[in-house]
Amino acid sequence: MQRIKPGRVVLYVVAYATALLWLFPVLWMIVSSFKPYGTPVSILEKVVTGVFTLENYGTIAEKAPIFRWTFNSLFVAVIVTFGTILFTSMAAYAISKLDFKWKKGIFLLITAGMMVPIESIIIPLYQNMADRQLLNTYVGLMCPSLAAPIGVLIMKRFYDSLPKDLFEAAVLDGANAFQRWVHVCLPMSKSSMAAVGIFTFTNSWNNFLWPFLSITSEKMMTLPVGIPQFQGANLSEFTLPMTASVVASVPAILVFLIFQKQIIKGIAMTGIKG
């Protein structure tokens, strides 16, 4: 058996200390959600002592169609995530591995699209959507997210790094462009696709401004649009908003846990080795 090196011990201490530090505000949020209405959540000793209750969860479930909102958020985010992974992977493959006219120009345009804040384009976008009668529809909710260029950049970076001979070999085997994408690119880029997936899912899950402007009926609301109902303006009752936030965060954390497996594939393997 190998001796544990002192450097390793320091690494353990630092890594775990950071992890706990990082977790602390999240834990705080979760604990606060179990406190009775009106508890001052910023006063730590009042949060950790005294009564704990599920009351807030009951209040939220009773006051708002929170399951419907969760479904909406989930439905939109899942389709947007898969759509984005698919479309950006295709586009990135074309830009990275295929020849066509105006390639550089198109890539520059896509990159430039990232540099515009949503606040700047939201009104033209709104009017565009109103003309198409897509306000207050699922399709209308999804479309702007599917236009996000960041996935193209991430996937292109990865495809650029794939060795040329892989593709040349595939060409020799008679694979056409589509087959090369399916059999070479897709299987190799799982971790990049997972990164794009995590990013897209989280962004869609927390997306506020566009859904807020676009949705006009309660049953179409997503969680970020509906949840502020529990926050009073100019006030500081925070146990209810905390509870709503917990409800809103759990599915997103679960999705991360699922996707991250794809990213960290190497660790499990080396674990067996080591």
Partner: protein, 298 residues
């Protein structure tokens, strides 16, 4: 003969182009309709004197002329650039360190990873709400800790420069998880054999880090810096919700100013001009960055 060959070549070229466009089309459909079109419409709008919901009249370049004389514009541009400069290296570096933690095969990696990533899934309002509790005076956590050390009230969110530190900490906590994931994806692409070969050659861990890991991650690093720079440029929610852009206008960013101009004061034309100027600045900065990072490799 030659003509026929030329024709065949052309046909092949056309087919190649066609195939490529088929791959591009699904993404471009959404990109053009729901991003590019609104952007172009915005640029068009910047030539008008336009009120949200009100009148609209052609104004030539007067919005741009007004912008150059607007000290709020320069001030918010400066604030934004300041944040880009302090936050980009910090978040990229911390993200890299976190990825290294996870990649060093500690026991309980899954737990560490989940902890470090979990803030990223929270929404803006939750994040800022939590960190206001941490930084607020009198009852805030930081105050309770510093009071034990005998330090008086610091007013983190109301003091020049200190407020930037608070915003930076919040932003790192919230968004570093994504950079970590990108770095992890990059680290996974480095074949284990390279590390093993280096270890057999007697390389120590520092040498491995600087000679193998970082050079192999170059593309990822460039990408992460690019994405983080753009994200930092777009800073708005944290400063707006935690400090109201204050004290004074000390943390008012350009996106905050665009938002306020367009939605609070309803001056859509002017907001569109500000947006276009913002875009030009981001574009130039990222271009410059790419040049610098690109030249390093040679």
């Amino acid at each position: 003969m030659q003509m026929a060959m030329g024709k065949e070549k052309r046909q092949r070229a056309i087919k190649k182009n066609l195939v490529a466009w088929c791959f591009l089309l699904p993404f471009l459909y959404f990109f053009v309709n729901f991003l590019l079109y609104p952007i172009l419409k915005g640029i068009h709008l910047s030539l008008y004197d336009s009120t949200l919901g009100g009148s609209q009249s052609f104004a030539r370049l007067s919005n741009y002329i007004a912008m150059f004389q607007d000290k709020n514009f320069w001030n918010s541009m400066f604030n934004t650039l300041f944040f880009v400069v302090i936050s980009t290296p910090t978040i990229v570096l911390v993200g890299f360190i976190f990825a290294m933690f996870i990649n060093s095969k500690l026991k309980g990696t899954i737990f560490i990873r989940a902890c470090l990533f979990s803030p990223y899934v929270l929404s803006m309002s939750v994040v800022t709400g939590l960190w206001i509790f941490i930084f607020q005076p009198y009852t805030g956590l930081v105050t309770q800790m510093t009071a034990k050390l005998g330090v008086g009230e610091m007013y983190w969110l109301n003091t020049k420069w200190l407020v930037w530190l608070a915003i930076l900490i919040t932003t790192v906590w919230w968004t570093v998880g994504f950079n970590m994931v990108l770095f992890l994806a990059g680290l996974q692409d480095i074949p284990d054999e390279i590390y093993e070969a280096a270890r057999i050659d007697g390389a120590n861990s520092r040498q491995i880090l600087f000679r193998i890991t970082i050079p192999m991650l170059k593309d990822t690093i460039t990408l992460v810096i690019l994405l983080q720079t753009i994200a930092s440029f777009k800073l708005f929610g944290q400063t707006y919700l935690m400090a109201g852009g204050g004290p004074g206008t000390h943390t008012k960013t350009i996106v905050h100013y665009i938002y306020e101009t367009g939605f609070t004061n309803r001056k859509m034309g002017y907001a569109a001009a500000l947006s276009f100027a913002f875009f030009v600045v981001v574009f130039l900065v990222t271009l410059l960055q790419n040049k610098l990072l690109g030249s390093k490799e040679e």
